[in-house]
Structure formats: structure tokens, C-alpha cells
């Protein structure tokens, strides 16, 4: 089976092309390098099945972050038969730089010249035949979004050949490069890089290529080359000049001086004051739409599941254990659907829209300074915002982040954001019985705690947080199809991940009450509950909150031996309600969230995160208790 790898710079439309080629199995994102994991798919070429790999976007073969490193590694290691290099025709100069690097890999290569329509709008006219001749590589013009040129591209993939030309620098530069090349070859210091590229990157000071030469006999030669070529700057400038020359030879530009609509939009959306107002307005409307629109749908779904519950109650009343288990399963499925369809689907659709329109990197620009203090980038905003809905998609959103350190910090912090289940506790307990001012206070405290935790984690965790250096893509109108595919993909992830956890949690819950294990559990946790000044009968509530936080409030009054929610003040003082709520906000995320965290950052980090939240919750609720006692 032939394997084809798609490679391109961020925002070149790579994922869109992948969707066109390999049947809807990848996501398309507008934020640089959004496809952090690479995706595989299959397509037919004549009668033969070929495998298509969608690699994370990269500006160059010398990587800057984890995701880009994965791309380069895959290019070296995978058995790739054909490389398809996607170029954004509207930023041709920069795109060609990657093409030149890819040519040196000496694998069959096809160039897909994407976004021809956007280039035209920008006033750039490209002569495709000329570009093909200059590069010595087959060039196919495409408009991936509209599916144009795909057939020609497949044809070109079938006949793909190794590049005819190689990038040649001036004689003086080549002399130094060759000296390093010869030394590498003579002393067998070659690694997986093509030797000439390795030499160039070593001269440019790229860590992975420089390191093998540092303590070797080639050290001297490398240093000479570095000195003569000004640490590789001469090579970079020559390559840049070459790309400019190519561009000038193949493209005509008719300048459009008029201030475009995009510029005007940016003046508002990136304004030092109005930009933030606009951002708050945008997120507020998303929440408003999602939560207002979701309620009737949720009620409808709950209604259906209530009927099923009722039916089970009647038909299985003679088989107590079976009844308990079946009910647990139905409740779990009901909870999953009750979240996924009314809230998640529209929420993820709107977030995908922001992503594909190109608004996300702009948020990154606006919020970078605040987020950077927490060891994060402006883009980490998305997991946080999603967290107010449900923690599971919030954790899944950390996928767009690139470094591992950032991912771990974001996953930890996003799990601290009160999701809608925890919101019911804040509002239903503290808000209703103590006052809504206190509920808002809890939200503020929550944000402060998140920020402080972020600052501490930034210092504690190893690894550097690379600073923001990326390009801001132009605004683009995504197609409805792409958006729906993307949303569907995310909802599917949620369903596969969360549904088993919710079902499992529900079943365990019903079994525990079936076997009357509540008292045993309460007595085990008695000392802990005394530390927090809470009645030991609610230990079981907190423990089960881990399985399913939606039930916390319901279980609370049952565990306290009350007949309804309104009687809670009889059993708990306002102080105890505060302590309980603080603990619920911060302690261990639910099982589904833990599963999501494990998927994104691995088991070890997940254990640390889980224990960390438990520690944090204990500390904060203990502090709350002390403060209440003093006050």
C-alpha cells in the first residue's frame, strides 16, 4: 500500500485537503498547527488503496515545539512513498522555503498550490507552469475548500517523482556547507537527516543537528563555517532571496492599496480596549445561546429518559439487582445525551466556527500577556472557557496546545473551572441558601486560585514555555460542511470517552446503595470530614461526586436524611455549606474528565493532577473553615 504524507505550513488548508481526500477523518483548524496528533485515512487511487497521513503543520523542518517535531520525525521515520507539500498561494514566498527543505529529502514530491482564489483576491497571479519548471516538482493548483483540483492532485500523486533539482547556494556558501558534509560523512556522524540538510541546520545552530557534531572531530569545521557564514544567517538570507526570486519569476502582483474589510475588522477586534469588550461580548453570546437554547432540549431528553426509567421501575420491580444495574445504565446514557446534544453540540460548533474563521489566534494575541504568567499562551483560553460547560471537552481542547508543559498546566487548570454540574452546587447551595453575592465571590476566588496555581505550576514544571511567535491568518469563511464535520468529530470523541464512564459511575452508584455500603464508606472518611468540620454522613456524597458530579446536590439531602432540598439548612450551617461547596469546586474531577486527561497527557501526569486537585480542595476548604471560624 502506498503511503502519502500531507505536509505544509500552518493555515495552508492541509486538513481541509485531507478531508477532501480521505473521507472526513481529520479536523481542520485555523490556528497554526491545530492538528497536533496526526491523522490517518484512506483513499482510492484508481483501484488501489492508498494511505493518507495528515501531519501537524510546520514552518520548517527545524522544529520549534513538540507538534512540529512530531511532523519532522514522521517524515524521517514513516515509510512515506509520496510527500504532498501544500502551499498557501497567498503567502507563496514563505511557503516555498519549506518546499526547498522538503526537496532535500529526495522523496517523490508533489506540490499542491492551495488557496488560488485567495491569492487572486490579494492580487497575486501565479503562473503554475513556470513555478513547476523553476522548482522541478509537479505543481497542481487546487482550492481544497471547494474540492477543486483534487482529481488532478491524485493523478499527480500516482506519477510522483523525486525532485529534479536541488537547492544550490552561492559557491562561497557551498564550500563551507560541503566541508561540514564531508566531515560528517567521513566520520560517520550521520543521523536520520539528509546529510546536506543536517550540515546546513547545524550551521544555522539548530540543536538536533548541531549536537551530534559538538563533541566530535567536526567541531572545528563547523565552527569555521559558522564564523564565515555568520551563524547561518548568510544561508538564510540566500535562501530567502532565492524564494523571492522564484516568486518574482512566477507571480505578478497587482497591488490593492484600499484598506480591506479585514483590516477594519482587526482595528476593532484587536483594539487595546474595544478588542476585549468584543471578546467578552462574543463569549457571552456563545454562553447565552448555548445555555438558553439548551434547556428545552435537555428537558425534552430528560423527559424521555424519565419515561424509560418509569417503564423499568414497573417491569423489573421483581428483580431488584437487575433493576438497579439496568437503571444505572439508563441513567448514565441519559446523562451523557443530556449533556452532549443540548449543550456540547452547539458549543463545539460555535467554538469550531471561531477557530475556522481565524478568531482564535487573535484571542491569543489579546490574552497572551495574562496567560503567559501562568506558563500558557493566549490560546489556552479555549480550554478554560469550555470548562464552564463541561470539563471533558475542555480537556480535549488542550489538544490545540503544542508543548507538553502547556498541556499539563492547561489540563490541570481547566479541571478546576466549575463545570455546569458544579455550578448547580454553587448556585443551588451557596447561592440559594446563603446569597448570590457569595456564589459570585466563589467564582472570583476560583479564578484567583486558578491564576495562582498556574503561576506556581509554571515554576514547578520542567521545560520552558516558548514565547509566542506565529502568523495571524486572514479571516476566512469556513464551509458549513467542514464545520459540521469538525463538530461531529469532537462530539464523537466525547461520546466514546464519557459515556462508558458515566454508565460505569451510575451502575456503581446504584450497586452501592443496593448493598447498603454507605455507612462503611462514611466511617472510613470520618476523620477527614472532621478535619473540614463537615458531618461524616456526606463523605459518601463527595466520594460519589467523583463518579458523577451532577448528582452531588441530590445526594446531599438524601445522605443527610432529609426529605427535600429545602430542608438542608436544618442539617448544615451556612459555614458548612461554604466549606462543602469550596471542596466540591476544586476536588478530583469526575471520572469522565480523568479519562479525558489521561488521553491527553498520559497516566502519570493524570495521577499528579488528580492528587493535586484533592490536595488543593482540602487545603482551600480547610482555610475556608478557619476563616469562617475567625470571622
Amino acid at each position: 500500500m502506498k503511503t502519502v504524507a500531507l505536509v505544509g505550513q500552518p493555515n495552508c488548508g492541509k486538513s481541509t485537503l485531507f478531508n477532501q481526500l480521505a473521507g472526513y477523518k481529520s479536523l481542520s483548524a485555523n490556528f497554526p498547527g491545530a492538528t497536533v496528533e496526526y491523522t490517518k485515512g484512506q483513499t482510492y487511487l484508481d483501484d488501489e488503496i492508498i494511505e493518507v497521513i495528515d501531519l501537524p503543520g510546520t514552518y520548517s523542518l527545524s522544529w520549534y515545539d513538540d507538534a512540529e517535531r512530531e511532523t519532522v520525525k514522521a517524515l524521517f521515520s514513516e515509510d512515506i512513498d509520496v510527500i504532498v507539500n501544500i502551499l498557501d498561494a497567498s503567502t507563496l514566498v514563505r511557503s516555498i522555503e519549506l518546499t526547498i527543505e522538503l526537496m532535500s529529502l529526495e522523496k517523490p514530491l508533489v506540490v499542491a498550490l492551495n488557496m488560488m482564489d485567495e491569492a487572486l483576491r490579494k492580487g497575486i497571479y501565479i503562473n503554475v507552469n513556470k513555478l513547476e519548471n523553476v522548482l522541478g516538482v509537479k505543481v497542481v493548483p487546487i482550492i481544497a475548500k471547494k474540492g477543486k483540483g483534487i482529481k488532478d492532485l491524485l493523478e499527480a500523486i500516482k506519477n510522483a517523482k523525486k525532485p529534479l533539482k536541488r537547492c544550490v547556494y552561492s559557491r562561497e556558501v557551498e564550500k563551507y556547507i560541503n566541508a561540514v558534509v564531508n566531515c560528517i560523512e567521513k566520520n560517520n556522524l550521520k543521523n536520520e537527516w539528509p546529510v546536506k540538510l543536517m550540515a546546513i541546520k547545524a550551521i544555522e545552530g539548530f540543536e538536533a543537528c548541531q549536537k551530534p557534531l559538538e563533541n566530535s572531530v567536526c567541531k572545528k569545521v563547523l565552527e569555521q563555517a559558522k564564523f564565515a557564514l555568520r551563524d547561518g544567517l548568510v544561508i538564510v538570507q540566500e535562501r530567502h532571496a532565492l524564494c523571492m526570486d522564484i516568486f518574482e519569476a512566477v507571480a505578478k502582483v497587482k497591488k490593492k492599496e484600499k484598506k480591506s474589510f479585514e483590516e477594519k475588522l482587526d482595528t476593532v477586534l484587536l483594539h487595546p480596549f474595544f478588542g476585549y469588550i468584543a471578546m467578552i461580548a462574543i463569549f457571552f453570546s456563545i454562553f447565552y445561546i448555548v445555555f438558553h437554547g439548551g434547556v428545552p432540549i435537555e428537558n425534552f431528553i430528560i423527559g424521555i429518559f424519565d419515561k424509560i426509567d418509569h417503564f423499568i421501575d414497573i417491569s423489573l420491580s421483581n428483580y431488584k439487582l437487575t433493576h438497579a444495574i439496568v437503571k444505572g445504565v439508563v441513567d448514565g446514557v441519559g446523562a451523557a445525551f443530556g449533556i452532549a446534544f443540548p449543550y456540547l453540540l452547539p458549543f463545539l460548533f460555535l467554538i469550531s466556527l471561531l477557530e475556522d474563521v481565524g478568531y482564535l489566534p487573535r484571542i491569543g494575541f489579546l490574552l497572551d500577556s495574562t496567560m503567559h504568567k501562568m506558563g500558557l499562551h493566549g490560546t489556552s483560553m479555549i480550554p478554560f472557557v469550555s470548562g464552564y460547560g463541561c470539563s471533558v471537552p475542555a480537556i480535549m481542547a488542550t489538544r490545540i496546545l503544542k508543548s507538553r508543559k502547556e498541556k499539563i498546566i492547561s489540563a490541570f487548570l481547566a479541571s478546576l473551572v466549575p463545570c455546569s454540574a458544579r455550578t448547580t452546587v454553587i448556585m443551588g447551595l451557596v447561592g440559594y441558601f446563603i446569597g448570590y453575592g457569595y456564589a459570585i465571590l466563589l467564582y472570583v476566588i476560583n479564578i484567583v486560585v486558578i491564576m495562582i496555581s498556574g503561576m506556581i505550576l509554571k515554576k514547578l514544571l520542567p521545560g520552558i514555555s516558548p514565547e509566542m511567535a506565529l502568523d495571524i491568518p486572514p479571516y476566512r469563511l469556513p464551509t458549513f460542511k467542514t464545520l459540521m464535520l469538525k463538530t461531529w468529530h469532537k462530539v464523537k470523541d466525547f461520546v466514546f470517552l464519557a459515556v462508558p464512564m458515566l454508565i460505569g459511575g451510575s451502575v456503581v452508584l446504584t450497586l452501592i446503595s443496593y448493598y447498603h455500603l454507605d455507612n462503611t464508606i462514611n466511617s472510613i472518611f470520618k476523620p477527614f470530614m472532621e478535619l473540614l468540620g463537615l458531618p461524616s454522613s456526606i463523605a459518601v456524597v463527595l466520594l460519589f461526586g467523583v463518579l458523577k458530579k451532577e448528582l452531588t446536590l441530590l445526594m446531599l439531602y438524601q445522605a443527610l436524611g432529609l426529605s427535600s432540598l429545602s430542608q438542608i439548612p436544618q442539617a448544615l450551617t451556612p459555614g458548612q455549606m461554604m466549606v462543602f461547596t469550596v471542596f466540591v469546586i476544586f476536588y478530583i474531577p469526575c471520572l469522565a474528565t480523568i479519562a479525558a486527561i489521561k488521553k491527553e497527557v498520559g497516566l502519570k501526569a493524570t495521577i499528579y493532577i488528580t492528587l493535586g486537585t484533592l490536595l488543593l480542595a482540602t487545603l482551600l476548604s480547610f482555610l475556608t473553615q478557619v476563616i469562617i471560624h475567625i470571622a
Binding site: L270, S369, D471
Partner: protein, 83 residues
């Protein structure tokens, strides 16, 4: 050798809305390679389009493309005024 190309002005000192020539990028800058790839290369003209408040990043225009760089990086880019 580096000092010979450094006239003391850093990108971070640049004025909003003005264009500058990139002189050099300080050694040891992790993002050097990335900057090169984004077109921020010595000799190129960059325009400071926006500065995010609260010591946020800079938005530059390079070859007609908007590029965002953090302040820590802007501190390591040496620039010269256009004559």
C-alpha cells in the same frame, strides 16, 4: 562581532505604526529559526502594527503577512530606523 551590528535599538523600543529594518537577532534566541521562517530576517522591513496591552505581544507586518511575537522575543530583535 555581534556588537558591530547592534546600534542599540531593539524591536521592543519601536514605535507603533512605524517601519524598521531588522538588523540582527541576538544569539541564544530560541525562536531565531522560527523568526527566520516567518520572514523576520535581517535586512527585511517590518512594520509594528499593534502592541497588545499589559505587556502583551507585538503584531508585525512582514511581507504582507501579520506575525505576532512575544515581548521576550521583541527584546532580542535589533532594529534600525528607515532612512
Amino acid at each position: 562581532m555581534k556588537a558591530a551590528y547592534n546600534f542599540g535599538m531593539k524591536l521592543i523600543d519601536g514605535e507603533l505604526g512605524k517601519s524598521y529594518i531588522v538588523e540582527s537577532i541576538d544569539g541564544g534566541c530560541m525562536a531565531k529559526d522560527r523568526l527566520w521562517k516567518l520572514g523576520v530576517i535581517p535586512g527585511v522591513i517590518v512594520k509594528i502594527k499593534r502592541k497588545a496591552p499589559l505587556k502583551g505581544p507585538f503584531m508585525l507586518e512582514v511581507n504582507g503577512v501579520d506575525v505576532v511575537v512575544g515581548r521576550g522575543i521583541a527584546l532580542k530583535i535589533n532594529i534600525r530606523e528607515l532612512e
